[in-house]
Amino acid sequence: MTTIRTIAVGFDGSPDSEVALVWALDLAGPLGARVVAVHARGLLSRLEGWNSREMESIVARLAHEHGVADGDASVRVEEGDACSVLVRCSQAPVNADVLVVGSRGEGKHPGLLLGSTSLELAQRAEVALVIVPGERDAASV
């Protein structure tokens, strides 16, 4: 049986990605696994402005709230599109055993693979993939 040591979760600061992060933290606690919140920097991200410190503090706060030790939850920022960056997380140096994503990016046109990060990931991922449905009141989870 697969031992889950590292969980990589796609995290862009959106409510849905926060729900996915919480799900990953709740899974990690009992397993003693570490969680890596992965932020993909796409082409437009440098124009939009983002703050890695802010992300780090969200991750630290949620890790604390969900009983995951500080050292076991981290933020990783990588250049690339979200799908490719997450696929790469199953390789070194992250070596994720599981990928977790929120359901945002479900795709505009049902039935088409294009435009859906989660469906595309399902096709390209080299390790298990968990798609966590979004919740409106993510912050109160």
Partner: protein, 347 residues
């Protein structure tokens, strides 16, 4: 003589506020206009690239899906890349514009080709859109030339690594792909150790340079790392993925190139063109309209011996050790690849 596609802004492929916008073609047109080429310009009507021409580098299922996605109304393909109802047709015409220019040049046996289309292409993969790109325009033309028996050199000086183009020709010995790009930067690929697949060892040359690099770094690395391989490859055609986002005023990167640096890069490229009418440039990035205008003018002015205004080339920036480092990283990677190839043949 400049052989250029009929310029159109393709306003129906637009996402308000997105930097890959119709006005970019207007900036290119202004840059060409500033050269006052008069009758020395041939405008080529683009055509819609056929499925046969596209499947040389793209999966048929991807083409079907992209068409269906657009006709369903389009939308965001990923966090960076959009499509509209009209994008499928526009992308086919963009790929076809490259083919039309290359065909015209083949027929004439003279001139310098420029393919000023949008959306750009070099991030587009076999089976997916990415990084503002839907179809890989330069790759479609390179594959068409390779199928005619040509040895094609692609020089990609966009600030981003052309991951789509590299992957399409990764294992194809008929095409030599040379890229200078900022690293780290989107899309995260393009390290020096990527030297080509087992059937095309040394047919990929990546020259990643750090933020703050100047034009002299790129030129030196091209001279020291790429030139000997290009000589040996002996191209019969040269295509350029001419992105202008390495310009210091461009919002998408952190390199410090000026319009004068593009003149310098163009001179280097001209030196490896084997015969008249065997050089075509394809617009990729370039999102500061003024930088785009002046840099296109500097590039084409240099290649066509027309007077142009340009800022002095840049020098003295970061990455002075790039050429040495890239050469060493490639040496090790090439040894490993050749050993793997030999053991594969023995098996």
């Amino acid at each position: 003589m400049l052989i250029v596609n009929e310029l159109t802004e393709n306003a129906a492929h637009e996402d308000p506020g997105h930097p890959e916008r119709p006005e970019r073609v207007g900036a290119v047109a202004a840059g060409i206009g500033s050269l006052h080429l008069g009758g020395d310009v041939v405008n080529v009507a683009p055509y819609r690239a056929t499925r046969t021409e596209l499947v040389r580098v793209h999966d048929g299922t991807y083409l079907d899906e992209l068409g269906a996605y657009c006709y369903a109304g389009g939308g965001d393909l990923d966090e960076d890349t959009y499509a509209t109802y009209d994008s499928w047709a526009i992308a086919q015409f963009a790929a076809g514009a490259g083919l039309a220019v290359v065909n015209e040049m083949t027929h004439r046996g003279e001139g310098v080709g420029f393919v000023a289309v949008r959306p750009p292409g070099h991030h587009a993969q076999r089976d997916r859109a990415m990084g503002f790109c839907l179809l890989n325009n330069v790759a479609v033309s390179a594959a068409a030339l390779a199928d005619r028996g040509e040895r094609v050199l692609i020089v990609d000086w966009d600030v981003h690594h052309g991951n789509g183009t590299q992957s399409m020709f990764w294992n194809d010995p008929r095409v030599l792909y040379v890229s200078t790009h900022q690293w780290p930067l989107f899309p995260g690929t393009g390290v020096a150790q990527e030297v080509g697949g087992l059937d095309a060892v040394n047919r990929t040359i990546n020259i990643p340079v750090p933020p703050g690099s100047t034009g002299d770094t790129l030129v030196r690395a091209l001279d020291e790392v790429a030139a000997p391989v290009i000589d040996e490859f002996d191209p019969t055609w040269v295509l350029v993925s001419a992105g202008y986002d390495a310009h210091r005023a461009d919002p998408m990167g952190d390199l410090l190139l000026t319009s004068g640096d593009f003149a310098r890069l163009a001179r280097r490229v001209r030196e490896v063109v084997p015969a008249p009418g065997r050089l075509a440039l394809f617009l990729e990035g370039g999102y500061n309209l003024e930088a785009l205008r002046t840099s296109v003018a500097a590039t084409l002015g240099t290649l066509l011996d027309a007077p142009f205004d340009a800022a002095p080339p840049s020098s003295g920036g970061a990455g002075e050790d790039v050429a040495t480092r890239v050469r060493e990283q490639r040496r090790v990677a090439l040894e490993l690849a050749r050993a793997a190839r030999t053991s594969g043949e023995d098996a």
